[in-house]
Amino acid sequence: MKCIVYFETLLGEIREFSLSALEFSKLFCDEIYGFIVNSDKAKNYVKKLYVLETKNEFSRTIAQEIYKIVKSEDIKYIFFASTNKGKEIFSFLAGISNGLILEDVEGYENGYFIKAIYSNKVYAQYQVEFNGLKIIGVKPKSYKLAEPINSNTEIVEIKLDNANNEFEILEIKQKDNKEVDVTEADIVVSGGRGLSSAENYHKLLRELIEVLKEKTGLKVALGASQAVVDAGWIDHSHQVGQTGKTVSPLIYFAFGISGATQHIAGMRTSKYIIAVNKDEEAPIFKVADYGIVGDVNKIIPELIEKLKKVL
């Protein structure tokens, strides 16, 4: 079976999530072609790599170029990392190809794809019965990463020099490079109303993040509950939960977060959940592995001081 795996790049590097999609594709395909835009960094992973060189990295353009290969090579399956960018490209490709897209897949068992529904409150099995192009998006962090293979990769360059007057990027505000996104972090330090003020939220959590980074060398990100995002303490890109992001880090710290079902839906699959809250009846303790009942505004400074000395 011939497949394409799309390698997504971010700031010039392959996103690790694409390597999970590649590993997942091996369950279905024996002939895997790669597709990447403006980079040859995926060449150690596939025998044949299509490289699109273009100044016009719009999802629509990328989808149209991939569709040409689908037709010329008689491709049956496409696999991609189920990121926002990936979903944008491939839902459009599904439209133009009359194909079928199944995104945010977390596993494959006995002929069924597994996917969370109802904002991660329920898991469902899906059986696909479709003769056309099948496009599968693999949820980040749900599958192991593919190893490089040693092969003489055939590189097929596609040069595209089309102007575009339909679509223009006016401005890109890049966030601080050192700031890790909550979806990519090993440790998420999240805060809620219990931190009392925006000032405390930023001061205490950011200091804790710096100490954890320095002491562990892991990727540590700042998270937030919906309540503090709505209160304007921090912007929406940090929000964890139903109207924010879904995270699965090694450790999720919930400081002063009561744990509404909407929040739990976004962090329940974390490996370890550590919650600090002054109310011992708070629902967050129903999902936490470890809990401390107390005032976060006293506990976080103590934790920072003690972490500096140990670890």
Binding site: I96, E103, Y112, L170, K175
Partner: protein, 251 residues
Amino acid sequence: MRILNIFKRVPDTYAEINLNSDFSDINKDGLSYVIDPYGEYGMETALRMKDNNSSIELNVLTIGPENSTELLRNALALGFDNSYLIKYDNYDKLSPLVLSKLYLSFIQKFGPFDIIFVPKVDIDTNFSSICGYLAGFLNMNFLTNISSAYLDGEFIIIERETDIGKEKIRMRLPVILSHDKAPYEIRLANLKGIMASKKKPIHIINIDELNVSLENHIKRGKLKLPPQRASVKFLSSVDELIKVLKEEIKI
């Protein structure tokens, strides 16, 4: 200028979800239904466009059982001009491909529209492909996960969050956009709006009128709840927490 907002009728987002006894579906007893949150943000962005230009015609569409008209009435009370219901009880079992074809057929019958807003994800099925499917079928400009948008002549200016920060984009109309959370609050209907809504139309469309095959190519099997997590172990001091981090989690 005509705008179409599509929203999804979903269980109240604060509700706990349980399964029925044969695991074929969620237990719907006692669930109340609301307009999905991303649909609401799309509606607010459309209403803001109309605030600045009252000649804009706002249309709203959803699919669901007959009592979905209550939700459409809310939209009319907020300031929408026309509302449409595709009447179908089993709407939450339709695959995104079938759903997109139904919306496409609606748009072909009742369009054209200059802007179409859809939710960034249908929070019941967790599918986020409607925007891309429709853009592909219609060969239209599109963008997913937008935070806000405003009109600028024949163009629309859009802001959105990306994985590296924020983007501001200008696109030529017509466009189809999937809406994420917006940086502004959603308005509530006032008494005047509620009174006015009683005179506004709700068009009910039988699903057969749209001539779309309802055969799902993705068949949903059994459901299961996520595994229960072990119960919490309460720690009495920060020192104990540090011990856990070092010795159990081993960071």
